[in-house]
Protein backbone atom coordinates (compact mmCIF):
# COMPACT_ATOMS: atom_id res chain seq x y z
CA UNK A 1 0.00 0.00 0.00
CA UNK A 2 1.51 3.33 -0.99
CA UNK A 3 0.23 6.55 0.49
CA UNK A 4 -1.62 9.03 -1.67
CA UNK A 5 -0.56 12.69 -1.37
CA UNK A 6 -2.10 14.15 1.78
CA UNK A 7 -4.45 17.10 1.78
CA UNK A 8 -2.52 20.28 1.33
CA UNK A 9 -3.42 21.48 4.79
CA UNK A 10 -4.69 18.63 6.93
CA UNK A 11 -5.13 20.75 10.06
CA UNK A 12 -6.78 23.60 8.16
CA UNK A 13 -9.15 21.17 6.46
CA UNK A 14 -10.14 19.75 9.85
CA UNK A 15 -10.63 23.24 11.26
CA UNK A 16 -12.83 24.28 8.33
CA UNK A 17 -14.84 21.10 8.71
CA UNK A 18 -15.30 21.67 12.44
CA UNK A 19 -16.49 25.22 11.79
CA UNK A 20 -18.95 24.13 9.11
CA UNK A 21 -20.32 21.25 11.18
CA UNK A 22 -20.63 23.45 14.26
CA UNK A 23 -22.52 26.06 12.26
CA UNK A 24 -24.83 23.42 10.83
CA UNK A 25 -25.51 21.89 14.23
CA UNK A 26 -26.13 25.29 15.81
CA UNK A 27 -28.56 26.22 13.04
CA UNK A 28 -30.44 22.96 13.49
CA UNK A 29 -30.62 23.31 17.27
CA UNK A 30 -31.63 26.97 17.07
CA UNK A 31 -34.64 25.95 14.99
CA UNK A 32 -35.71 23.27 17.46
CA UNK A 33 -39.06 23.87 19.19
CA UNK A 34 -37.71 21.89 22.16
CA UNK A 35 -34.32 20.36 22.96
CA UNK A 36 -33.88 17.05 21.17
CA UNK A 37 -31.93 15.59 24.08
CA UNK A 38 -28.45 14.13 23.79
CA UNK A 39 -27.56 13.36 20.21
CA UNK A 40 -24.92 10.68 19.74
CA UNK A 41 -23.69 10.65 16.15
CA UNK A 42 -21.98 7.51 14.97
CA UNK A 43 -21.92 5.73 11.63
CA UNK A 44 -25.17 3.81 12.19
CA UNK A 45 -27.12 6.97 13.04
CA UNK A 46 -25.57 8.80 10.10
CA UNK A 47 -26.49 6.01 7.71
CA UNK A 48 -30.03 5.72 9.05
CA UNK A 49 -30.71 9.45 9.02
CA UNK A 50 -29.55 9.93 5.46
CA UNK A 51 -30.88 6.66 4.01
CA UNK A 52 -34.46 7.24 5.18
CA UNK A 53 -35.24 10.15 7.51
CA UNK A 54 -38.74 8.84 8.19
CA UNK A 55 -37.44 5.52 9.42
CA UNK A 56 -34.70 7.13 11.49
CA UNK A 57 -37.16 9.40 13.27
CA UNK A 58 -39.61 6.54 13.73
CA UNK A 59 -37.07 4.55 15.72
CA UNK A 60 -37.40 6.83 18.74
CA UNK A 61 -35.10 6.92 21.74
CA UNK A 62 -34.61 3.16 21.88
CA UNK A 63 -33.47 3.04 18.28
CA UNK A 64 -31.19 6.06 18.56
CA UNK A 65 -29.27 4.85 21.56
CA UNK A 66 -26.67 2.12 21.90
CA UNK A 67 -28.55 -1.17 22.03
CA UNK A 68 -26.24 -2.60 24.68
CA UNK A 69 -23.56 -5.25 24.50
CA UNK A 70 -24.45 -8.59 22.97
CA UNK A 71 -22.22 -11.12 21.22
CA UNK A 72 -23.15 -9.42 17.96
CA UNK A 73 -22.52 -5.82 19.02
CA UNK A 74 -19.38 -6.74 20.97
CA UNK A 75 -17.57 -8.68 18.23
CA UNK A 76 -15.71 -5.74 16.70
CA UNK A 77 -14.83 -4.12 20.02
CA UNK A 78 -13.54 -7.39 21.46
CA UNK A 79 -11.62 -8.14 18.27
CA UNK A 80 -9.87 -4.76 18.23
CA UNK A 81 -8.93 -5.08 21.88
CA UNK A 82 -7.72 -8.65 21.43
CA UNK A 83 -5.61 -7.77 18.41
CA UNK A 84 -4.25 -4.70 20.18
CA UNK A 85 -3.40 -6.90 23.17
CA UNK A 86 -1.56 -9.32 20.88
CA UNK A 87 0.36 -6.53 19.15
CA UNK A 88 1.47 -5.20 22.54
CA UNK A 89 2.22 -8.68 23.87
CA UNK A 90 5.43 -10.69 24.06
CA UNK A 91 5.28 -12.01 20.49
CA UNK A 92 3.82 -9.29 18.26
CA UNK A 93 5.63 -10.54 15.14
CA UNK A 94 3.82 -13.87 15.32
CA UNK A 95 0.50 -13.89 13.42
CA UNK A 96 -2.40 -13.85 15.88
CA UNK A 97 -4.35 -17.12 15.91
CA UNK A 98 -7.73 -15.39 16.24
CA UNK A 99 -9.45 -17.59 18.82
CA UNK A 100 -6.36 -17.73 21.01
CA UNK A 101 -5.88 -13.98 20.77
CA UNK A 102 -9.49 -13.41 21.82
CA UNK A 103 -9.23 -15.88 24.70
CA UNK A 104 -5.98 -14.31 25.89
CA UNK A 105 -7.57 -10.87 25.97
CA UNK A 106 -10.74 -12.15 27.63
CA UNK A 107 -8.62 -13.53 30.47
CA UNK A 108 -7.42 -10.01 31.13
CA UNK A 109 -10.97 -8.64 31.35
CA UNK A 110 -11.53 -9.08 35.06
CA UNK A 111 -12.77 -5.68 36.18
CA UNK A 112 -16.56 -5.50 36.05
CA UNK A 113 -16.49 -1.74 36.27
CA UNK A 114 -14.07 -1.40 33.39
CA UNK A 115 -14.85 0.92 30.53
CA UNK A 116 -16.69 -0.34 27.47
CA UNK A 117 -16.73 -3.91 26.32
CA UNK A 118 -14.09 -5.00 28.84
CA UNK A 119 -16.55 -4.46 31.69
CA UNK A 120 -19.23 -6.47 29.92
CA UNK A 121 -16.86 -9.37 29.25
CA UNK A 122 -15.78 -9.26 32.89
CA UNK A 123 -19.43 -9.59 33.90
CA UNK A 124 -19.89 -12.61 31.63
CA UNK A 125 -16.80 -14.19 33.14
CA UNK A 126 -18.00 -13.51 36.67
CA UNK A 127 -21.40 -15.03 35.80
CA UNK A 128 -19.75 -18.07 34.21
CA UNK A 129 -21.73 -17.40 31.04
CA UNK A 130 -19.71 -19.70 28.79
CA UNK A 131 -22.19 -19.74 25.89
CA UNK A 132 -22.21 -15.94 25.61
CA UNK A 133 -18.42 -15.84 25.85
CA UNK A 134 -18.15 -18.50 23.14
CA UNK A 135 -20.58 -16.64 20.88
CA UNK A 136 -18.67 -13.41 21.42
CA UNK A 137 -15.35 -15.11 20.75
CA UNK A 138 -16.74 -16.54 17.52
CA UNK A 139 -17.66 -13.12 16.18
CA UNK A 140 -14.42 -11.54 17.32
CA UNK A 141 -12.31 -14.32 15.82
CA UNK A 142 -14.08 -13.89 12.48
CA UNK A 143 -13.38 -10.17 12.66
CA UNK A 144 -9.66 -10.64 13.34
CA UNK A 145 -9.28 -13.27 10.62
CA UNK A 146 -11.02 -11.04 8.06
CA UNK A 147 -9.05 -7.97 9.10
CA UNK A 148 -5.68 -9.70 8.89
CA UNK A 149 -6.57 -11.50 5.66
CA UNK A 150 -7.58 -8.32 3.85
CA UNK A 151 -4.73 -6.17 5.16
CA UNK A 152 -2.14 -8.94 4.99
CA UNK A 153 0.45 -10.13 7.49
CA UNK A 154 2.60 -8.53 8.69
CA UNK A 155 0.14 -5.70 9.17
CA UNK A 156 1.12 -2.36 7.65
CA UNK A 157 3.91 -0.62 9.51
CA UNK A 158 2.82 1.85 12.17
CA UNK A 159 -0.70 0.41 12.31
CA UNK A 160 -2.48 1.14 15.59
CA UNK A 161 -5.86 -0.24 16.58
CA UNK A 162 -8.43 2.39 17.56
CA UNK A 163 -11.43 2.22 19.88
CA UNK A 164 -9.81 -0.42 22.07
CA UNK A 165 -10.61 -1.27 25.66
CA UNK A 166 -7.35 -0.10 27.20
CA UNK A 167 -7.24 2.29 30.11
CA UNK A 168 -4.82 4.62 28.37
CA UNK A 169 -6.68 4.56 25.07
CA UNK A 170 -8.16 7.93 24.12
CA UNK A 171 -11.93 8.32 23.74
CA UNK A 172 -12.61 9.10 20.09
CA UNK A 173 -15.34 11.73 20.46
CA UNK A 174 -15.88 15.31 19.38
CA UNK A 175 -18.40 17.93 20.48
CA UNK A 176 -18.93 21.37 18.96
CA UNK A 177 -18.25 22.88 22.36
CA UNK A 178 -18.04 21.89 26.02
CA UNK A 179 -21.44 20.83 27.35
CA UNK A 180 -23.02 20.57 23.91
CA UNK A 181 -25.73 17.89 23.56
CA UNK A 182 -24.16 16.58 20.35
CA UNK A 183 -21.29 14.10 20.36
CA UNK A 184 -19.67 12.67 17.25
CA UNK A 185 -17.95 9.31 17.54
CA UNK A 186 -15.22 8.10 15.22
CA UNK A 187 -15.74 4.45 14.37
CA UNK A 188 -12.49 3.81 12.53
CA UNK A 189 -10.92 0.52 13.55
CA UNK A 190 -7.30 1.46 13.04
CA UNK A 191 -4.97 4.09 11.76
CA UNK A 192 -1.79 3.71 9.80
CA UNK A 193 0.86 6.29 10.60
CA UNK A 194 1.10 8.77 13.41
CA UNK A 195 -1.22 11.73 13.59
CA UNK A 196 0.91 14.78 12.95
CA UNK A 197 0.11 18.27 11.80
CA UNK A 198 1.28 17.54 8.29
CA UNK A 199 -1.36 14.85 7.98
CA UNK A 200 -0.65 11.77 5.91
CA UNK A 201 -2.09 9.14 8.24
CA UNK A 202 -4.72 6.73 7.01
CA UNK A 203 -7.82 5.47 8.74
CA UNK A 204 -8.87 1.84 8.39
CA UNK A 205 -12.49 0.72 8.56
CA UNK A 206 -13.14 -3.01 8.55
CA UNK A 207 -16.52 -4.40 7.60
CA UNK A 208 -16.91 -8.14 8.24
CA UNK A 209 -19.71 -8.19 5.67
CA UNK A 210 -20.12 -5.72 2.83
CA UNK A 211 -23.07 -3.52 2.15
CA UNK A 212 -23.60 -1.95 -1.25
CA UNK A 213 -21.08 0.24 -3.04
CA UNK A 214 -22.87 3.46 -2.13
CA UNK A 215 -22.66 2.50 1.52
CA UNK A 216 -18.91 2.06 1.23
CA UNK A 217 -18.48 5.63 -0.07
CA UNK A 218 -20.77 7.02 2.61
CA UNK A 219 -18.90 5.11 5.29
CA UNK A 220 -15.59 6.47 4.06
CA UNK A 221 -17.00 10.01 4.01
CA UNK A 222 -18.43 9.75 7.51
CA UNK A 223 -15.29 8.25 9.03
CA UNK A 224 -13.05 10.76 7.24
CA UNK A 225 -15.10 13.58 8.75
CA UNK A 226 -15.47 12.04 12.20
CA UNK A 227 -11.76 11.27 12.29
CA UNK A 228 -10.87 14.83 11.27
CA UNK A 229 -13.16 16.24 13.97
CA UNK A 230 -11.86 13.93 16.69
CA UNK A 231 -8.14 14.15 15.84
CA UNK A 232 -8.23 17.75 14.53
CA UNK A 233 -6.21 16.55 11.57
CA UNK A 234 -7.69 15.16 8.37
CA UNK A 235 -6.48 11.75 7.24
CA UNK A 236 -4.95 11.29 3.80
CA UNK A 237 -7.25 8.42 2.97
CA UNK A 238 -9.73 5.96 4.36
CA UNK A 239 -9.00 2.29 3.71
CA UNK A 240 -12.17 0.21 3.76
CA UNK A 241 -11.64 -3.54 4.07
CA UNK A 242 -14.36 -6.13 3.73
CA UNK A 243 -14.10 -9.59 5.23
CA UNK A 244 -16.54 -11.60 3.16
CA UNK A 245 -15.36 -10.35 -0.24
CA UNK A 246 -11.73 -9.78 0.71
CA UNK A 247 -11.84 -6.33 -0.87
CA UNK A 248 -9.63 -3.44 0.19
CA UNK A 249 -10.72 -0.08 -1.16
CA UNK A 250 -8.73 3.12 -0.68
CA UNK A 251 -10.74 6.32 -0.66
CA UNK A 252 -8.60 9.47 -0.85
CA UNK A 253 -9.70 12.22 1.53
CA UNK A 254 -10.33 15.62 0.00
CA UNK A 255 -12.42 18.62 0.93
CA UNK A 256 -15.48 17.23 -0.88
CA UNK A 257 -15.35 13.93 1.02
CA UNK A 258 -14.97 15.75 4.33
CA UNK A 259 -17.89 18.03 3.46
CA UNK A 260 -20.06 15.04 2.56
CA UNK A 261 -19.23 13.39 5.87
CA UNK A 262 -19.82 16.60 7.78
CA UNK A 263 -23.21 16.94 6.15
CA UNK A 264 -24.10 13.44 7.35
CA UNK A 265 -23.27 14.52 10.91
CA UNK A 266 -25.45 17.62 10.64
CA UNK A 267 -28.28 15.66 9.06
CA UNK A 268 -28.50 13.42 12.12
CA UNK A 269 -29.00 16.50 14.30
CA UNK A 270 -31.57 17.97 11.87
CA UNK A 271 -33.56 14.77 11.89
CA UNK A 272 -33.49 14.53 15.66
CA UNK A 273 -34.88 18.07 15.78
CA UNK A 274 -37.57 17.13 13.25
CA UNK A 275 -38.37 14.07 15.34
CA UNK A 276 -39.34 16.46 18.12
CA UNK A 277 -41.53 18.42 15.71
CA UNK A 278 -43.12 15.68 13.64
CA UNK A 279 -41.90 12.22 14.68
CA UNK A 280 -42.27 9.60 11.99
CA UNK A 281 -43.65 11.19 8.85
CA UNK A 282 -43.99 8.92 5.80
CA UNK A 283 -43.78 11.99 3.57
CA UNK A 284 -40.02 11.95 4.16
CA UNK A 285 -39.61 8.26 3.38
CA UNK A 286 -36.97 7.22 0.87
CA UNK A 287 -38.08 3.75 -0.17
CA UNK A 288 -35.33 1.27 -0.95
CA UNK A 289 -34.55 -2.42 -0.47
CA UNK A 290 -34.16 -1.60 3.23
CA UNK A 291 -37.97 -1.34 3.39
CA UNK A 292 -38.01 -5.14 3.51
CA UNK A 293 -36.59 -5.06 7.03
CA UNK A 294 -38.00 -1.74 8.21
CA UNK A 295 -39.78 -1.92 11.54
CA UNK A 296 -42.09 1.00 10.67
CA UNK A 297 -42.92 -0.19 7.13
CA UNK A 298 -46.49 -1.11 8.10
CA UNK A 299 -47.30 2.52 8.77
CA UNK A 300 -45.44 3.86 5.76
CA UNK A 301 -47.39 4.27 2.52
CA UNK A 302 -44.38 4.93 0.28
CA UNK A 303 -42.58 1.94 1.74
CA UNK A 304 -45.57 -0.35 1.23
CA UNK A 305 -45.97 0.92 -2.33
CA UNK A 306 -42.32 0.26 -3.06
CA UNK A 307 -42.53 -3.25 -1.69
CA UNK A 308 -45.63 -3.99 -3.72
CA UNK A 309 -44.17 -2.51 -6.89
CA UNK A 310 -40.76 -4.12 -6.64
CA UNK A 311 -42.17 -7.64 -6.84
CA UNK A 312 -38.85 -9.12 -5.83
CA UNK A 313 -37.83 -11.07 -2.81
CA UNK A 314 -35.41 -13.79 -1.79
CA UNK A 315 -32.38 -11.99 -3.02
CA UNK A 316 -33.77 -10.56 -6.23
CA UNK A 317 -36.04 -13.31 -7.53
CA UNK A 318 -39.68 -12.58 -8.31
CA UNK A 319 -42.55 -13.70 -6.13
CA UNK A 320 -44.34 -16.90 -7.08
CA UNK A 321 -47.73 -15.91 -8.43
CA UNK A 322 -50.58 -17.27 -6.29
CA UNK A 323 -52.50 -20.28 -7.55
Amino acid sequence: MTATPPLGDAVGAADRLAAAVTAGIDAALDAAPAPPGDVDVGWVAALDATACPARFRGQGETGWGFPGWTPATAAGAVARSALDHHLHGPDPDCPPAPLEAVRDWMRTATSIGARGVAGWVAELRADGDGPALAATAAGAARWIAGFVRTLGWPLPERLALLNVARDDAPVARWSPRRGAPVRVRSGADARIGRIVGAGGHRLVVHRPVAGDDGQLRRRAAFEAAAGALVHRVAAAEVVVTTGDTGERVRVPVDEALLAAGGEMVVEVVRQRVRAVERGHDPADARPSPACRWCEVADGCGPGRDWLARAGRWRGGLPVLAPG
Binding site: T70, P71, A72, P95, A97, P98, L99, E100, D129, G130, P131, A132, A134, A135, A137, A138, A141, R142, A145, V148, R149, G152, W153, P208, V209, A210, D212, D213, G214, G243, D244, T245, G246, E247, S288, P289, A310, R312, W313, R314, G315, G316, L317, P318, V319, L320, G323
Partner: protein
Protein backbone atom coordinates in the same frame (compact mmCIF):
# COMPACT_ATOMS: atom_id res chain seq x y z
CA UNK B 1 -1.95 -38.91 15.30
CA UNK B 2 -1.81 -41.08 12.17
CA UNK B 3 -1.29 -39.30 8.92
CA UNK B 4 -2.97 -40.38 5.71
CA UNK B 5 -2.91 -38.93 2.21
CA UNK B 6 -5.83 -36.65 1.52
CA UNK B 7 -7.14 -38.88 -1.25
CA UNK B 8 -7.77 -41.64 1.29
CA UNK B 9 -8.91 -39.39 4.11
CA UNK B 10 -12.27 -40.46 5.52
CA UNK B 11 -12.71 -38.16 8.49
CA UNK B 12 -12.04 -34.59 9.50
CA UNK B 13 -9.28 -35.96 11.74
CA UNK B 14 -7.65 -37.55 8.69
CA UNK B 15 -7.89 -34.33 6.70
CA UNK B 16 -6.25 -32.22 9.36
CA UNK B 17 -3.56 -34.82 9.95
CA UNK B 18 -2.80 -34.93 6.24
CA UNK B 19 -2.36 -31.13 6.20
CA UNK B 20 -3.08 -31.43 2.50
CA UNK B 21 -1.61 -29.37 -0.21
CA UNK B 22 -4.18 -27.94 -2.58
CA UNK B 23 -5.10 -30.45 -5.26
CA UNK B 24 -6.49 -27.64 -7.42
CA UNK B 25 -3.52 -25.33 -7.18
CA UNK B 26 -3.38 -25.25 -10.98
CA UNK B 27 -7.08 -24.52 -11.41
CA UNK B 28 -7.82 -21.84 -13.98
CA UNK B 29 -9.35 -19.35 -11.56
CA UNK B 30 -9.16 -16.37 -13.96
CA UNK B 31 -10.96 -18.45 -16.57
CA UNK B 32 -13.65 -19.50 -14.12
CA UNK B 33 -14.14 -15.92 -12.99
CA UNK B 34 -14.35 -14.70 -16.58
CA UNK B 35 -17.05 -17.24 -17.36
CA UNK B 36 -19.05 -16.30 -14.28
CA UNK B 37 -18.63 -12.59 -15.03
CA UNK B 38 -19.97 -13.05 -18.54
CA UNK B 39 -22.91 -15.10 -17.30
CA UNK B 40 -23.66 -12.56 -14.56
CA UNK B 41 -23.57 -9.62 -16.97
CA UNK B 42 -25.89 -11.41 -19.37
CA UNK B 43 -28.26 -12.27 -16.54
CA UNK B 44 -28.21 -8.78 -15.04
CA UNK B 45 -28.99 -7.26 -18.43
CA UNK B 46 -32.14 -9.35 -18.56
CA UNK B 47 -33.06 -9.40 -14.88
CA UNK B 48 -32.43 -5.75 -14.16
CA UNK B 49 -30.38 -6.31 -11.02
CA UNK B 50 -28.00 -3.60 -9.92
CA UNK B 51 -25.48 -3.12 -7.08
CA UNK B 52 -28.00 -1.48 -4.76
CA UNK B 53 -30.50 -4.33 -5.16
CA UNK B 54 -28.57 -7.31 -6.49
CA UNK B 55 -29.42 -10.90 -7.24
CA UNK B 56 -28.07 -12.75 -4.24
CA UNK B 57 -27.27 -16.36 -4.97
CA UNK B 58 -26.82 -18.65 -2.01
CA UNK B 59 -26.30 -22.39 -1.99
CA UNK B 60 -30.02 -22.94 -1.40
CA UNK B 61 -31.10 -20.59 -4.19
CA UNK B 62 -28.68 -22.14 -6.68
CA UNK B 63 -29.87 -25.62 -5.73
CA UNK B 64 -33.53 -24.65 -6.05
CA UNK B 65 -33.07 -22.87 -9.38
CA UNK B 66 -31.47 -25.98 -10.85
CA UNK B 67 -33.71 -28.54 -9.18
CA UNK B 68 -37.09 -26.88 -9.61
CA UNK B 69 -37.41 -23.18 -10.57
CA UNK B 70 -40.94 -23.02 -9.18
CA UNK B 71 -39.62 -23.97 -5.78
CA UNK B 72 -36.96 -21.26 -6.04
CA UNK B 73 -39.74 -18.68 -6.11
CA UNK B 74 -41.75 -20.13 -3.24
CA UNK B 75 -41.75 -18.33 0.08
CA UNK B 76 -40.08 -20.24 2.88
CA UNK B 77 -42.34 -22.17 5.18
CA UNK B 78 -42.75 -20.36 8.45
CA UNK B 79 -43.22 -23.35 10.70
CA UNK B 80 -40.52 -24.92 12.82
CA UNK B 81 -40.22 -28.68 12.48
CA UNK B 82 -38.26 -31.30 14.38
CA UNK B 83 -35.85 -31.42 11.44
CA UNK B 84 -35.22 -27.69 11.63
CA UNK B 85 -34.59 -27.94 15.35
CA UNK B 86 -32.20 -30.85 14.88
CA UNK B 87 -30.30 -28.87 12.28
CA UNK B 88 -29.95 -25.89 14.59
CA UNK B 89 -28.80 -27.98 17.55
CA UNK B 90 -26.24 -30.03 15.62
CA UNK B 91 -24.93 -26.92 13.91
CA UNK B 92 -24.53 -25.10 17.23
CA UNK B 93 -22.87 -28.14 18.79
CA UNK B 94 -20.29 -28.25 16.00
CA UNK B 95 -19.51 -24.59 16.54
CA UNK B 96 -19.14 -25.06 20.27
CA UNK B 97 -16.89 -28.07 19.72
CA UNK B 98 -14.72 -25.80 17.59
CA UNK B 99 -14.77 -22.79 19.89
CA UNK B 100 -14.45 -24.64 23.22
CA UNK B 101 -12.51 -27.76 22.28
CA UNK B 102 -11.76 -28.87 25.83
CA UNK B 103 -15.43 -29.43 26.65
CA UNK B 104 -17.59 -31.71 24.46
CA UNK B 105 -20.89 -29.92 23.89
CA UNK B 106 -24.27 -31.23 24.97
CA UNK B 107 -27.73 -30.43 23.66
CA UNK B 108 -28.18 -28.04 26.57
CA UNK B 109 -24.92 -26.29 25.72
CA UNK B 110 -26.02 -25.93 22.11
CA UNK B 111 -29.35 -24.41 23.19
CA UNK B 112 -27.55 -21.98 25.50
CA UNK B 113 -25.23 -20.97 22.67
CA UNK B 114 -28.21 -20.29 20.42
CA UNK B 115 -29.88 -18.28 23.19
CA UNK B 116 -26.73 -16.20 23.55
CA UNK B 117 -27.06 -15.37 19.87
CA UNK B 118 -30.69 -14.34 20.39
CA UNK B 119 -32.13 -17.47 18.77
CA UNK B 120 -34.78 -19.16 20.94
CA UNK B 121 -36.28 -21.30 18.16
CA UNK B 122 -35.19 -24.57 19.77
CA UNK B 123 -36.23 -23.56 23.28
CA UNK B 124 -39.63 -22.45 22.04
CA UNK B 125 -40.19 -25.60 19.99
CA UNK B 126 -39.26 -27.92 22.84
CA UNK B 127 -41.40 -25.94 25.29
CA UNK B 128 -44.36 -26.05 22.91
CA UNK B 129 -44.04 -29.82 22.59
CA UNK B 130 -43.95 -30.27 26.38
CA UNK B 131 -43.51 -33.86 27.53
CA UNK B 132 -44.06 -35.03 23.96
CA UNK B 133 -40.67 -33.59 23.13
CA UNK B 134 -38.83 -36.32 25.03
CA UNK B 135 -38.26 -38.57 21.97
CA UNK B 136 -36.99 -35.53 20.10
CA UNK B 137 -34.65 -34.68 22.97
CA UNK B 138 -33.31 -38.22 22.90
CA UNK B 139 -32.78 -37.99 19.15
CA UNK B 140 -30.99 -34.66 19.55
CA UNK B 141 -28.71 -36.16 22.17
CA UNK B 142 -27.88 -39.05 19.85
CA UNK B 143 -27.11 -36.73 16.96
CA UNK B 144 -24.92 -34.45 19.05
CA UNK B 145 -23.05 -37.47 20.40
CA UNK B 146 -22.37 -38.70 16.86
CA UNK B 147 -21.22 -35.23 15.87
CA UNK B 148 -18.90 -34.97 18.87
CA UNK B 149 -17.44 -38.39 18.09
CA UNK B 150 -16.51 -37.22 14.61
CA UNK B 151 -15.15 -33.86 15.70
CA UNK B 152 -11.43 -33.52 16.40
CA UNK B 153 -9.83 -31.16 18.83
CA UNK B 154 -8.69 -28.47 16.44
CA UNK B 155 -5.25 -26.93 16.85
CA UNK B 156 -5.59 -23.12 17.20
CA UNK B 157 -2.94 -22.77 14.49
CA UNK B 158 -5.68 -23.72 12.02
CA UNK B 159 -7.35 -20.36 12.84
CA UNK B 160 -10.78 -21.97 13.22
CA UNK B 161 -13.62 -19.64 12.24
CA UNK B 162 -17.30 -20.49 12.53
CA UNK B 163 -20.10 -19.02 10.40
CA UNK B 164 -17.48 -17.42 8.22
CA UNK B 165 -19.05 -15.16 5.59
CA UNK B 166 -17.79 -15.40 2.03
CA UNK B 167 -19.00 -13.62 -1.07
CA UNK B 168 -18.01 -12.93 -4.63
CA UNK B 169 -19.32 -9.90 -6.48
CA UNK B 170 -20.00 -10.28 -10.16
CA UNK B 171 -21.11 -7.79 -12.82
CA UNK B 172 -19.92 -4.87 -10.67
CA UNK B 173 -22.03 -6.05 -7.76
CA UNK B 174 -25.31 -6.65 -9.65
CA UNK B 175 -24.93 -10.32 -8.74
CA UNK B 176 -23.40 -11.80 -5.62
CA UNK B 177 -22.70 -15.42 -4.78
CA UNK B 178 -22.01 -16.26 -1.19
CA UNK B 179 -23.05 -17.56 2.16
CA UNK B 180 -21.73 -18.46 5.56
CA UNK B 181 -19.51 -21.50 5.88
CA UNK B 182 -20.08 -23.48 9.05
CA UNK B 183 -16.40 -23.90 9.88
CA UNK B 184 -13.33 -22.68 8.00
CA UNK B 185 -9.87 -23.93 8.90
CA UNK B 186 -6.60 -22.59 7.57
CA UNK B 187 -6.42 -20.66 4.32
CA UNK B 188 -5.16 -17.12 3.84
CA UNK B 189 -3.36 -15.62 5.69
CA UNK B 190 -2.21 -18.79 7.47
CA UNK B 191 0.36 -21.00 5.84
CA UNK B 192 -2.02 -23.94 6.02
CA UNK B 193 -4.35 -24.91 3.21
CA UNK B 194 -8.01 -24.02 3.60
CA UNK B 195 -10.39 -26.75 4.68
CA UNK B 196 -14.10 -25.96 4.56
CA UNK B 197 -16.45 -27.89 6.83
CA UNK B 198 -20.19 -28.04 6.37
CA UNK B 199 -22.32 -29.52 9.16
CA UNK B 200 -25.67 -31.14 8.42
CA UNK B 201 -28.19 -32.07 11.08
CA UNK B 202 -30.15 -34.66 9.10
CA UNK B 203 -29.19 -37.59 6.91
CA UNK B 204 -26.59 -37.70 4.18
CA UNK B 205 -27.72 -37.35 0.60
CA UNK B 206 -25.63 -36.73 -2.46
CA UNK B 207 -27.01 -33.24 -3.11
CA UNK B 208 -25.06 -32.00 -0.09
CA UNK B 209 -21.85 -32.25 -2.10
CA UNK B 210 -22.90 -29.44 -4.41
CA UNK B 211 -23.29 -27.04 -1.47
CA UNK B 212 -19.72 -27.69 -0.38
CA UNK B 213 -18.45 -27.39 -3.96
CA UNK B 214 -20.09 -23.98 -4.31
CA UNK B 215 -18.33 -22.72 -1.19
CA UNK B 216 -15.03 -24.10 -2.49
CA UNK B 217 -15.52 -22.08 -5.66
CA UNK B 218 -16.37 -18.86 -3.87
CA UNK B 219 -13.45 -19.15 -1.45
CA UNK B 220 -11.10 -19.94 -4.34
CA UNK B 221 -12.24 -16.87 -6.27
CA UNK B 222 -12.00 -14.63 -3.20
CA UNK B 223 -8.62 -15.80 -1.98
CA UNK B 224 -7.07 -16.63 -5.33
CA UNK B 225 -6.17 -19.99 -3.88
CA UNK B 226 -8.51 -22.99 -3.87
CA UNK B 227 -9.25 -24.80 -0.62
CA UNK B 228 -7.57 -28.17 -0.27
CA UNK B 229 -10.70 -30.01 0.77
CA UNK B 230 -14.35 -29.70 1.64
CA UNK B 231 -15.67 -31.89 4.41
CA UNK B 232 -19.33 -32.49 5.12
CA UNK B 233 -20.04 -33.86 8.59
CA UNK B 234 -23.55 -35.26 8.94
CA UNK B 235 -25.35 -36.08 12.16
CA UNK B 236 -26.17 -39.57 10.88
CA UNK B 237 -22.50 -40.42 11.30
CA UNK B 238 -21.48 -39.80 7.69
CA UNK B 239 -18.40 -37.76 6.90
CA UNK B 240 -17.82 -36.88 3.27
CA UNK B 241 -14.30 -35.75 2.42
CA UNK B 242 -13.62 -34.33 -1.01
CA UNK B 243 -10.29 -33.00 -2.19
CA UNK B 244 -10.93 -29.87 -4.25
CA UNK B 245 -9.75 -30.64 -7.76
CA UNK B 246 -10.03 -28.34 -10.78
CA UNK B 247 -13.03 -30.34 -12.01
CA UNK B 248 -14.88 -29.66 -8.74
CA UNK B 249 -14.48 -25.93 -9.22
CA UNK B 250 -15.43 -26.09 -12.89
CA UNK B 251 -18.57 -28.06 -12.11
CA UNK B 252 -19.55 -25.61 -9.39
CA UNK B 253 -19.03 -22.68 -11.75
CA UNK B 254 -21.14 -24.38 -14.40
CA UNK B 255 -23.97 -24.78 -11.90
CA UNK B 256 -23.83 -21.11 -11.01
CA UNK B 257 -23.90 -20.13 -14.67
CA UNK B 258 -26.95 -22.30 -15.30
CA UNK B 259 -28.65 -20.90 -12.19
CA UNK B 260 -27.97 -17.39 -13.44
CA UNK B 261 -29.61 -18.13 -16.78
CA UNK B 262 -32.68 -19.53 -15.04
CA UNK B 263 -32.87 -16.58 -12.64
CA UNK B 264 -32.73 -14.15 -15.54
CA UNK B 265 -35.52 -15.93 -17.36
CA UNK B 266 -37.69 -15.89 -14.24
CA UNK B 267 -36.99 -12.21 -13.62
CA UNK B 268 -37.98 -11.51 -17.22
CA UNK B 269 -41.37 -13.02 -16.53
CA UNK B 270 -40.97 -16.55 -17.80
CA UNK B 271 -43.24 -19.02 -16.02
CA UNK B 272 -41.21 -21.19 -13.65
CA UNK B 273 -40.68 -24.74 -14.78
CA UNK B 274 -41.71 -27.52 -12.44
CA UNK B 275 -39.51 -30.56 -12.00
CA UNK B 276 -40.91 -33.17 -9.63
CA UNK B 277 -38.63 -35.19 -7.40
CA UNK B 278 -37.96 -36.12 -3.81
CA UNK B 279 -37.69 -32.42 -3.00
CA UNK B 280 -41.47 -32.13 -3.57
CA UNK B 281 -42.07 -33.75 -0.17
CA UNK B 282 -40.65 -30.69 1.60
CA UNK B 283 -41.58 -28.02 -0.94
CA UNK B 284 -43.47 -25.06 0.53
CA UNK B 285 -45.25 -24.58 -2.82
CA UNK B 286 -46.44 -28.16 -3.33
CA UNK B 287 -50.07 -27.16 -2.78
CA UNK B 288 -51.43 -26.34 -6.20
CA UNK B 289 -48.33 -27.60 -7.99
CA UNK B 290 -49.29 -29.90 -10.89
CA UNK B 291 -45.92 -31.64 -10.90
CA UNK B 292 -46.10 -32.45 -7.20
CA UNK B 293 -49.58 -33.83 -7.72
CA UNK B 294 -48.45 -36.10 -10.54
CA UNK B 295 -45.54 -37.33 -8.43
CA UNK B 296 -47.80 -38.03 -5.47
CA UNK B 297 -50.19 -40.02 -7.68
CA UNK B 298 -47.31 -41.98 -9.18
CA UNK B 299 -45.96 -42.83 -5.76
CA UNK B 300 -49.41 -43.85 -4.52
CA UNK B 301 -50.19 -45.94 -7.61
Amino acid sequence: MRSVPLRTARTLVDVLAAAPAGAAADADLPGLRAGLEAAARDAAAVGGWHPDDPLRLTKAVVADLLRCPRRALAPAEGGVTDDVVAGLVVDAAAKLATLVPHRPPTVEDACAYLRALGDTTVDDHLADRGEAAEPLRAELRARVERLVAAWPRIDPAWWPRVEDPVRVRLADGAVTVGGRIDVVLGGAPTERPAVLVEVKGGRWWDGMRADAHLYALVVALRDGRPPAAVVTVVADGTTQVEPVRPAVLATAADRVERALATAAALAAGEAPATRPGPHCDHCPARAGCPAAGVRAEALAG
